[in-house]
Amino acid sequence: MKHSTFSFMWLVVVILSLWCGPVTGWAQDGTPGAIDTGDTAWVLVSSAFVLCMTLPGLALFYGGLVRSKNVLGTLMHTAIILCMISIVWVLLGYSLAFGPDVGGIIGSLEFLGSLGVGQDAYPGTGIPHLAFMVFQLMFAAITVALITGSFAERMKFTALLLFAVLWSVLIYSPLAHWVWGGGWLAEMGALDFAGGAVVHISSGFAALVCALVLGQRKGYGVESMVPHNLPMTVLGTGLLWFGWFGFNAGSALGANGGAAAAFVATHIAACAGGISWMGAEWLRTGKPTMLGVASGIIAGLATITPGAGFVTPLPALVIGLVAGALCYAAVILKIRLGYDDSLDVVAIHGVGGFTGILATGLFASIGAQGLLYGNPGQFVIQFVLAVSTVVFVVVGTFVILKVVDLLVGLRVSSEDEETGLDLSQHSERAYT
């Protein structure tokens, strides 16, 4: 076992060094003069913001929600996904998503190994191609990391590694190409400002499939599975919110009026989402909760993501209000239906993303027109976008999971689950 791991690593190192040999240099001098320092600084800052969403933001958000025996296992999912997907993206993923279009379906292998991705301006922007690539990298990483919430506390670590790589290459990259890389959905005129379909519907519905295929946690519905450290989740919420400004406003790919509009819409929707979720639970159970507000904020943020750059502040407020209450309802529905989406990825990202894509078709007014601004066709396109994303993701994720299950098995043993992932998978404990 150890031996084979070693030889595999050597193989990778050798291939990588051969590959890098002939690479001499990208266009060092004579960049086309189109680089804007302000735009570049903003997109680089935004990339760092999105990193901050993933690690530590999302890691802590999820980490606080699980039981104390699984907190490191949960943090580990996010951390290792960030590392692995970054490498996959630079080697292969970016080219599949943003290489020159092949039949509307996928990018070519032109940027394989990030060859040809240099300091010159990315077409249509004032930022270096490298900055664009790394900004997109952060999106690819967080999308996979989001899914982990659905199978927290029970997935085998090796299975997670395999699943993450396959999902990113086979699902995320093509999807990003369809919507943002010049693929068929982009051609159709589908609007997805910062990833309502590419990031949130995709991770949310992948999460649904994962929850169904893996099955419930041991003792689900019988034992108490209350969050072990809510302040940690609150800290994660704050960092997610903070980073989301880079995610959404950075998606303008420049520091301009559009970025400012996206920033404002993002913020207002987050606030409205928090208030609305809290109001809904206050009415239903009689008390507002901290976890409710935190969840509502994330719901508002996920829902405004596709529309952020296309809507004015008041529609953003409406979108946020709808998001909070609707995602809360989805959580309640989950409890009724009985599938164990442990940290509610489906209810928040899936339902939020789907709603957001449709809402963009209603409320878009900056740079595009939605139904309410006299363009009903946009709503239809948005509907096609949402549904085709769901179908592709559900089928693809199911196949990948089955393959991974055959190869290494998806779940830890019942005994290991009882012990907790921290000890059984990683031989460490969070608190001593």
Binding site: S224, V226, P227, R284, T285, K287, L291, G292, D344
Partner: protein, 112 residues
């Protein structure tokens, strides 16, 4: 000698301590405990899932007293810990055979 154990509501602790000190009790041991009796527990809600928490936080008081103090302690403690609503707790009294002061090795009621 008697050993008095009382389970009371946490927020009554200060009043009970004051009242007992007033009638001459010199020392006691206090532990934070959880338990349930006829009082129902409380409800917690996490993202819409409601959990019934049966074990309610209480405070356990332990004190050793001379036989002559028994009535007075029961009366004082009961009065101070009472709110009149369900969940006020209970007082348990049992015989105590020996008490030893570790520092000096003394035994008997004089130690109390």
């Amino acid at each position: 000698m008697k050993l008095v154990k009382a389970i009371i509501k946490p927020f009554k602790l200060d009043e009970v301590k004051e009242a007992l000190t007033e009638i001459g009790i010199q020392g006691m041991t206090v532990t934070e405990v959880k338990g349930f009796g006829r009082q129902k527990g409380h409800k917690e809600t996490y993202r819409g899932t409601e959990y019934q928490i049966d074990f309610v936080p209480k405070v356990k008081l332990e004190l050793a007293i001379a036989d002559s103090m028994e009535e007075k302690v029961i009366e004082t403690l009961g009065k101070a810990a009472k709110t009149g609503s369900i969940g006020d707790g209970k007082i348990f009294i049992s015989d105590l055979s020996t008490v030893v002061r570790i520092r000096t090795g003394e035994t008997g009621e004089g130690v109390l």
